[in-house]
């Protein structure tokens, strides 16, 4: 179990390589932007795609995250403290929440429109299922099981496994002590395994 000593753990060690790249990107160096995109874009995409399902929306959100970063750098609103990665994924989580709120509004409108027009169009939920249609049965089971987790549990799992963050970076991104994050991840894994073991993800 996590112990109290984790509560006083220091923040993630500064990533001097990332800091140098960010500094160059801030100065308009396109090669630096390419390095940042190569380093992080697919991880942001995986984090978003795990939640939204739809590939196109996941790419739009990813692009939006990077544009937001560029705007913050342009405006001098980012102070390099060696925590670029945590900042990036915090922005990504915020954009993901925005997208999910928008998706709920959208789906509600589409359902109303369907009722009025008598047609049936894909909602976000449908699109997520469509995306999973190409995946193997193991992946589909995992996706369904993840969907049954609470937001907080799912968040820590996705930051760890889909965004590929160290626990220290997750702690920095969420503003929580490392010990809390370790314990949250442990509990979330247990819950996920229980869902899979009990076959809850196979129920309608």
């Amino acid at each position: 179990m996590a112990t109290a000593e984790h509560e006083a753990d220091p923040p993630p060690a500064p990533d001097h390589v990332a800091a140098a790249i960010v500094a160059r990107a801030s100065a308009g160096d396109q090669d630096a932007w390419r390095l940042l995109v190569d380093r992080y874009a697919r991880r942001v995409y995986a984090l978003v795609r795990a939640r939204v399902g739809d590939a196109h929306i996941a790419e739009e959100v990813t692009q939006s995250v990077f544009v937001t970063i560029a705007e913050h750098l342009d405006a001098g609103r980012y102070r390099e403290e060696g925590r670029f990665e945590a900042w990036l994924f915090r922005l990504a989580m915020n954009r993901l929440r925005d997208e999910r709120r928008a998706s709920k509004r959208r789906d509600a409108m589409l359902r109303r429109a369907d009722a009025e027009f008598g047609s049936r169009r894909a909602t976000g939920e449908d699109r997520a299922h469509d995306g999973a249609a190409n995946a193997g049965p193991g992946v589909e089971a995992l996706r369904r099981a993840l969907a049954l987790l609470g937001d907080a549990d799912r968040e820590v799992i996705e930051l760890r496994h889909h965004a590929g963050l160290e626990f220290r970076a997750i702690a920095a991104a969420l503003g929580e002590p490392l010990g809390t994050v370790l314990a949250r991840h442990h509990r979330a894994l247990r819950k996920l395994r229980a869902i899979l073991d009990k076959g809850e993800h196979q129920k309608d």
């Binding site: 939006s64 544009v67 590929g164 442990h186």
Partner: protein
């Protein structure tokens, strides 16, 4: 996907073999997602950064104003303004984006907002981003033209090419 995790961050809560297996499964899932985009993915993201432009589209859904228009007209409008019927949108909506730079922009923004609400039922939040506003203006202009054209009597049910010609 680059795995940046370090073992130095341990000790972690005790993990059972089942936990470790599940973590490996999650990592494999993540790996499959991160490799899903095509090879042009990074270039598209870079282009967005370079232009400081988010992808944009406009949601179209049933409002009273839309309901007066035939489905074919909606299809024509959608084809012309380059958006998808019932396709969403995005990122015109930025939380807290009320950063109008001048009184003139603010007035136009308010005006666009009212018209967008009329057309799209409040589903779209405009931004004062120059490119996005231009897209909104063009879209609304197309819709107004189309609506006016449809108010005229048609000899027969218009097809898509007729409407395209009007516009």
């Amino acid at each position: 996907m680059t795995d940046t995790r370090s073992e130095s961050e341990f000790p972690r809560p005790a993990r059972s073999p089942e936990d470790a297996a599940l973590e490996a499964r999650l990592d494999a899932h993540a790996q499959s997602l991160s490799t899903a985009p095509d090879r042009g993915f990074e270039s598209r993201v870079l282009a967005g950064i370079e232009n400081r432009r988010r992808p944009s589209a406009v949601i179209v859904h049933a409002t009273p104003r839309w309901k007066r228009m035939a489905p074919m007209a909606i299809a024509a409008a959608v084809a012309l303004v380059g958006v998808g019927v019932f396709v969403m949108v995005n990122p015109l909506a930025q939380p807290g984006a009320g950063r109008a730079g001048s009184a003139g922009v603010a007035v136009e923004l308010a005006s666009l907002q009212r018209e967008l609400d009329d057309w799209f039922g409040g589903a779209v939040t405009p931004t004062n981003d120059g490119d996005a506003m231009e897209t909104i203006r063009d879209t609304l202009e197309t819709l107004r033209t189309l609506e006016a054209a449809l108010a005229e009597p048609w000899p027969a049910a218009p097809d898509l090419s007729d409407l395209m010609e009007v516009l």
